[in-house]
Amino acid sequence: MIDSVKSFLGWFFVTGDPMIYGADASIALVSIGIVAVLTYFKKWKWLWNEWLTTVDHKKIGIMYIIAALLMLFRGGMDALMMRAQLTLPNMHFLDAEHYNQVFTTHGTIMIIFVAMPFIFGLMNIAVPLQIGARDVAYPFLNALSFWLFFFGAMLFNLSFVIGGSPDAGWSSYAPYAGAEMNPGVGQNYYLIGVQISGIGSLATGINFLVTILKMRAPGMTLFKMPMFTWSILITSVIVVFAFPAFTVALALMTIDRLFGAHFFTIAAGGSPMLWANLFWFWGHPEVYIVLLPVFGIFSEVIATFAHKTLFGYAVMVWSMVAISVLSFITWLHHFFTMGNTAPVNAFFSISTMLIAIPTGVKIFNWLFTLNKGRIQFTTPMLWALAFIPNFTIGGVTGVMLAMAPADYQYHNSYFLVAHFHSTLIAGTVFGIFCGLHYWWPKMFGYMLDEVKGKWSFWIFMISFNICFMPMYFLGLMGMTRRMYTYPAGLGWTPINVVMSIGAAGMGIGFALMAYNIVWSAVRGKKDTTGDPWNGRTLEWATASPAAEYNFAHIPEIKSRDAFAAMKEARAAGHAETVPPYKAIHMPNNTGIPVIMSAFMFIAGFGFVFEWYWMGIPGLIGVVACMIARSFVYDDHHYIPVEKVKQTEAATGRLS
């Protein structure tokens, strides 16, 4: 009896590695700490009422960003562990199996649990404000999306201490990810954790598509929308059409692993290549899902701090439309070397190069926006300016990779790793940091310190180049992706040492940014105007942080850069008449999204371990929550005029 319990525990919890025991201990301590603090300060009720049950897009955005920052920390630690292992030849810091788990976790976390949620967070904060709306189209669904993402991410992270991590790469290729070659629960965690958060992403896509199409303030035609909103509209379309392929692929592989089907195993008539095919049918649009929004952020920031309207607005829009169409016909460039016929490779080679054209057009638009602008070098602007050259290197090497014959040489070498980090870090990460600094005052009502912000920018940006520029050459020298160690004497050692120094520098830059956040929370300059940057778009027309209802009066839009136009009119002495306040209609908070997602987590955990006694009741819980929700009729309330008046007076807008 005792022995069987012992052997169960030994299998259930990951054992044997001191680092994991350290993680166990720190997870336990942090959890106890959080519970203790909440209890001591009697904050449970506050947490439930203000955060867990909220449907306010601004608070949901903040929760997305907090979660994404925590995940960025974990993904970054994984990156540093990999770099530590690879610094010198023949190191024994991580063994092969452990290294595989670390790069798998790093890649999955960075793409699915950092890049996407961070962007979802920023769009939750900014889009409704930019279009003059009081919330998103489906506030309940919005909360549900967040909690599904959150519990999906938690499930995935649990694999580290319970059951074992997946190790088949973030792309989880069959047949290695199948049940025969990869027994155990690790791969199940990947499939189900990512699936749960993927449902949330799909719902977010639908939500923002409808929000932007339906909830714009009167007068704001599509071609008067801010560029960030445009980028989110197009991203939402890509999300809606790309995610189903991934949902299906994950479901098929789950059926393979749990129920013994053979969609992806050759022996029984399946096709492992079908996995790669479906994965990348989602995977390539996915890279645009994490890029187009930051293109939008850079467009806003560059226009704001060059003090000009964006150059070539319509061209910007149409090039994003072109990208959204083309992004669905390039997916094969991720597996040119799987032995496709020549016409197939030729087609996808050309389509991939084509997509560089609209992207290049956008680069020139930003450059022309800067041309003759009065440029103000704030922290967000620095991130935006650094993006242009650094990202262009990623784009150019992408075109190199797009040439199918040449890709036989580059494929899965460190040249590729350098390429996608040039786009993902110099594009997505610079972009989310840029947006974070830009919209921070709107989120919290105070500024992040500029001096510390600039230091963290320079350290991070320079270290990024120290880490990833040499990596291209390392790839050309023959070092391949996902190798856990290498022999001495290949000439790779010096470059690896330099890269690890760069990686450590990026860690320091990020730590400084975290310090800046904490420091500014205590000492940061308050933003009393609501418009600290002299912004051009509507989010700056309301208080920082915006009231629950965003705008006491829904603004009327007459032109692009609506807020800049309002300020000009005001300066020209056109007095605005303030009509009387009306009661404001808002959605009620609800606990159903978080409870339903918790049931989803329970179900997911059950299916990971193939414990159907746990999985099925979990799913029943999910359905019960849906039924409960469908009987909620009283789902909205009115904020009375008095309350609106008070709030507006408190933020000094009633003068």
Binding site: N277, I329, N340
Partner: protein, 101 residues
Amino acid sequence: MNGTQKQLKAGFPWKQVIGLILSLTLTFLALWIAVGLSLPVHVTIAIIVSLAIFQAFIQLFMFMHVTEGTEPVHQLMGILFGIYVAFTVVAGTLWILAYAL
């Protein structure tokens, strides 16, 4: 207030229930044709693809309000883009995997 009353008056959602039953029937019919009958592969594929297209229409009309809405251009664009993506994934997959099938 208003919304609540409208919801209550709407009555029993027959359309959705019928749509649900039809969808379930079509799905299980397809499963039975593929697993239960041993028809030639091409015939099976032809039947289940036509069932799938039929079901897509049921979804569009019973659940997805294609006939409603103030701006039909949104519906049109959505459907066109959907057809484009569906065509790409099916035709592309067949083309890519042709040498392996």
